[in-house]
Subunit: 222 residues, 2 copies
DNA sequence: ACCTGAACACCGTTCAAGT
DNA sequence: ACCTGAACACCGTTCAAGT
């Protein structure tokens, strides 16, 4: 895990709290009450401690979230990847997506310019290698990774937000959320866009778009 | 603008406040102090009113943001679009991106499953029409729109977050933000990913990725 | 070094009352 | 109908002190 070296076994486990106990408690809150309820104060309460005690073990909330992401990525099963480059690129990107799909709370942390977790860099490497194997220059392969990254987090952002709007994930009581979606009254031409506007986004469809994106990125290769 | 019909000229302009004055004030705060400082309370102060007064004109903060997005989209110049379908699809998607690129504050509202602003539905239609013109079925064209939408908001999310991390956009005093980026110490293989990891994401590069995505989506057409 | 209590500077939103 | 004041139920983070 990230920062292993800074806290190998020396300081950090003298007092009641440690990075590890904090992380475990955070995972508990996430599991029981959802991402919307994970706050430094809630977490302190969970540990029968004070908010400030936490700041002795993590710099701030963002670091905590990064640590959680890293732990999640590390625990995620590492599937066998195909050898054939294009298949390998697709499979790696799919794993990346699947890792993140389990973490609605990373939306707050998606800030970063790429996948930040050390525990998942093997995936980034796998994707770039596969793209090079497909005939892209190294620079184009890095760029291809970025485009796939954008597509992935775009899909996830929309997905998580929709779930949140529907009240999944144990958020607060969830007052009636009218799902502010365009109505035919506001926008008469809506019908032209085809029905089932909202029902199209499932896991399968992520794969389908992923294939299109990848093929587009590889179209000029070799 | 959205909800024009609900407040044509009847109620809503009797008291000191109206949707319009609130929107104008919000645009001011956005311009002067950035998205991070736009709160219902800040806005009430700007209008020398109370937070609750606002709730008489907008349902909640989300509606306010949607209204702002819609006004922005409406004010955005509507460029001439090329006739040729592929070029038209590319150009429409680029305009969609450019409209949103001016609104760092929409990240909070990107919840929605597609572009929600009525004032910009012409773009969605343009994209879907162009995709059909390229030989996609209507259903595939709608799906293509979604993939492009994911790519677009993914790119924007990363872009805005990077800007925020760098302290642009008039946020709070911005304490030293060490830009929690992977270091070579944490991840020795970092060099393999190529330098200029962060410098690749500019407007030009959005276009380049967009072309790849579009070509991938159109690859099986006709 | 590790933890506590109190405080700072905020949020969005609701309730009950005023005009 | 429109607006106010006070309150509810929170945030992340800092400061000064304790052991």
């Amino acid at each position: 895990m990230r920062d292993q070296k800074q806290q190998p076994a020396g300081p950090g486990r003298v007092g009641r709290l440690s990075r590890q106990t904090i992380l475990t408690a955070a995972q508990g809150v996430l599991r029981e009450e959802g991402a919307g309820n994970l706050s430094m104060r809630r977490l302190a309460k969970e540990l029968s401690s004070t908010p400030m005690a936490l700041y002795h073990h993590v710099r701030d909330k963002e670091e905590l979230l990064l640590l959680l992401l890293d732990a999640h990525a590390e625990a995620f099963p590492r599937p066998e990847l195909p050898e054939e480059p294009r298949e390998r690129l697709l499979a790696s990107a799919q794993v990346l997506h699947d890792i993140l799909a389990d973490c609605p709370w990373i939306v707050e942390v998606l800030a970063s310019d790429g996948f930040v977790s050390v525990s998942a860099m093997w995936l980034v490497e796998s994707m770039i290698d596969a793209a090079v194997g497909c005939g892209l220059t190294h620079e184009d392969a890095v760029y291809a990774y970025r485009v796939i990254w954008y597509y992935t987090i775009g899909e996830l952002t929309v997905r998580f937000n929709r779930e949140r709007a529907r009240g999944e994930g144990g958020g607060p009581p969830q007052r009636e959320r009218t799902m502010r979606v365009l109505t035919a009254e506001e926008y008469p031409q809506l019908a032209r866009l085809g029905g089932r506007w909202t029902e199209l986004a499932t896991a399968d469809n992520h794969r389908r778009g992923l294939e299109a994106v990848v093929d587009g990125l590889l179209r000029a290769a070799r």
